[in-house]
């Protein structure tokens, strides 16, 4: 089904929160509308649902992978050329621990970065209905819904007192 995206811009936080209330009253679900702002606001400022994420799992998985990789490299290279140096054992734990620590941290960081991007739902190729005014301080409320419901969405957005006209986005 064809979907369309519409955007209303607001100057005040209260108006944007009213727009969300209007959309809920008009029967739009949480997945159909989004708030767009140029700065982070305290969660729940607009009465939006708290975003759920699993970011904290990513660094743990990364650390385990990094640790394993570093263990394989340090133990593997030591065993591949078993030369005694300085009377130390072939598998020298203190020396291996340093590289395994760095490997764990590197794995944790790399997967955290991947996790942040993935959980942020990025990269996003199609912007939908968007206005450059959002990064100037305007608050955008965008609704992505079936074409048949866009009139109702525009009505709900307008009722909260939008600044300017409704901006329309892409069709898919």
């Amino acid at each position: 089904m064809t979907k369309r995206s519409v955007l209303g811009l607001y100057v005040e936080e209260d108006s944007a929160a009213d727009a969300l209330d209007n959309l809920r009253d008009a029967g739009f679900g949480e997945g159909e509308y989004e708030i767009l702002t140029g700065t982070p606001y305290p969660e729940g400022t607009f009465g939006e649902a708290e975003p759920k994420h699993k970011l904290y799992r990513w660094p743990l998985v990364g650390a385990v992978c990094g640790f394993t990789g570093a263990l394989i490299i340090t133990a593997g290279t030591s065993l591949a050329y078993p030369l005694l140096t300085g009377g130390k054992p072939i598998l020298s734990i203190p020396a291996m621990a340093i590289i395994m620590y760095e490997g764990s941290m590197l794995g944790a960081i790399l997967l955290t970065i991947v996790g942040i991007i993935f959980e942020s739902r990025l990269p996003r190729i199609f912007m939908g209905a968007y206005s450059e005014k959002i990064t100037e301080g305007y608050i955008g409320v965008t609704v992505t819904t079936d074409e048949s419901k866009t009139d109702a969405a525009e009505e709900a957005l307008k009722k909260a007192g939008i600044d300017g006209d409704i901006i329309r986005g892409w069709k898919e």
Partner: protein, 469 residues
């Protein structure tokens, strides 16, 4: 911090992006000058590669000279960049907002500069690949993981990757602002590609805030490990008695923080003067970082004192000979005096006065002194340690840096400045979204008859404020 100016988001965009969207007159000459210094340094390096490391002042017994002292110095500078950003983020210190980005970017370029010198030091840099990347050699010989020279690249490499990605993730919202502000369609596309289509949804902002906190928490232990490992380059060596010290790791870390936080303060003053951003970096910010510096400098001095006490207390002749050389013999004695006075005895008493703490000029000069002193500290740890006369008279010698080494060291300073100027031309050195968030969280409220900025903690779930605390 009560000193607060409420600005609109448009005013913040205009103020912080003006030097990106237009070309300041001074920018091109400054960049060309720094590029000329870099080219000169690189020419000196290629001269060294062609003629061999004999063109440097390095000779038995001093095989570590300006290059390694400079390496430790830049690693130190790089540390405080992320450290100050991470600790201030984790503690949610409000005054961090305008300074975190510059500190993080300085970390990245300082690490790159730090990596220059050991690469140049080995004389045949392409062979370093063998130490860093364990690839199977013809004879099945692998890198010796018991050597600190394998630990170093693993730690510094991790730190460089971590800090670069940290900067990138925290830049996404600001690149999105630039995407919306630039007029050229091609540049708009480039910024649009770089910001990955960031739009500013509550989910994206939540992840941004969490990214800052989570990455800070992960990067801090890396920061501690990197300078510990750099210190173990010295501490685990058998040859130099003066370096066998268990205090080296924390001593190096606190020294790194001392020089690095000072470098951040210098950078703040330069940003105010060069870019005219006094609306964003105010005397209050200098005051706050100077207070932090008093604590850091005093802790560093305590470790410096302990290193001397423990070295002399056991009455071992190599330790006493090394301390005598460092503090009382030509040419190290005057350098030692400059080091101690510049790193502690001039700046710290000045920072006790509010007027000094709030003055960008005094903060710039005092922190410059700290960094001169801290560069000398690294020099005085390395060179006298190697010059000290042992039992074998054929192994006596001294060290005079050659022009080649001096040019390469100067090149690293020019490289960092060059990198910072290029970065500031295409991306903002002050995080716009962080400053804007500060404005949101510090809206003015009336308490009795006084109007003051309110401040609430960012990153808390929305039900937090509904609970009774």
């Amino acid at each position: 911090m009560q000193e607060h100016t409420q600005l609109t988001q448009k005013e913040i965009n205009d103020g912080l992006l003006k030097d990106i969207l237009t070309l300041p007159k001074w920018w091109l000459p400054a960049v060309l000058f720094l590029a000329a210094v870099i080219v000169t340094g690189l020419s000196a390096f290629f001269f060294m590669v062609y003629h061999g490391v004999g063109v440097t002042g390095l000779n038995r017994p001093v095989f570590w000279g300006f290059f390694i002292a400079n390496f430790v110095f830049w690693i130190g500078i790089s540390h405080a960049g992320i450290m100050i950003s991470a600790i201030l983020r984790l503690t949610q210190a409000e005054w961090r907002r305008p300074i975190t980005r510059a500190a993080e970017v300085m970390t990245v370029f300082s690490l790159m500069a730090a990596l220059h010198t050991p690469l140049f030091h080995v004389g045949r840099p392409w062979r370093v690949a063998y130490w860093i990347f364990p690839y199977d050699f013809d004879r099945n010989i692998w890198p010796n993981i018991k050597s600190p020279f394998v630990w170093d690249p693993s730690a510094v490499g991790t730190y460089l990757i971590a800090s670069s990605l940290f900067v990138f993730v925290c830049l996404l919202p600001d690149i999105a602002i630039l995407r919306d502000r630039v007029t050229s369609p091609l540049i708009k596309k480039i910024y649009g590609f770089m910001c990955l289509g960031f739009r500013g949804t509550p989910r994206q902002w939540k992840l941004q805030i969490l990214a800052g906190i989570l990455l800070s928490a992960i990067v801090l232990p890396v920061f501690v490990s990197v300078h510990s490992i750099v210190s173990w380059d010295f501490a685990v060596l058998v040859a130099v008695e003066g370096w066998h010290s268990t205090i080296f790791a924390p001593y190096f870390i606190i020294g790194a923080i001392h020089s690095g936080v000072s470098a951040v303060a210098m950078l703040m003053a330069l940003i105010v003067w060069i870019y005219g951003l006094q609306k964003f970096i105010k005397p209050d910010h200098f005051d706050a970082i100077a207070r932090l510096l008093i604590i850091v400098a005093t802790t560093w001095f305590f470790f410096f004192f302990l290193e001397w006490v423990w070295a002399l207390y056991n009455l071992e002749s190599p330790e006493i000979a090394l301390r005598e050389l460092q503090a009382f013999e030509w040419p190290y004695a005057p350098l030692f005096a400059i080091f101690v006075i510049a790193s502690f005895f001039i700046p710290v008493p000045l920072w006790l006065f509010k007027r000094c703490r709030r003055s960008p000029m005094i903060m710039f000069l005092t922190t410059l002194l700290v960094n001169i002193g801290m560069w000398l500290e690294r020099f005085l740890i390395i060179i006298p340690g190697l010059v000290r006369r042992g039992h074998m008279t054929f192994d006596w010698g001294t060290y005079h840096p050659s022009l080649i080494e001096i040019l390469i060291v100067v090149e690293t300073f020019a490289f960092v400045a060059f990198g910072m100027l290029l970065f500031a031309k295409v991306l903002p050195l002050i995080p716009l979204f962080d400053v804007k968030e500060g404005m949101v969280l510090r809206r003015l409220m009336k308490v009795g008859r006084k109007t003051i900025p309110a401040s609430m903690r960012e990153g808390l779930p929305h039900h937090y404020y509904e609970k009774d605390h």
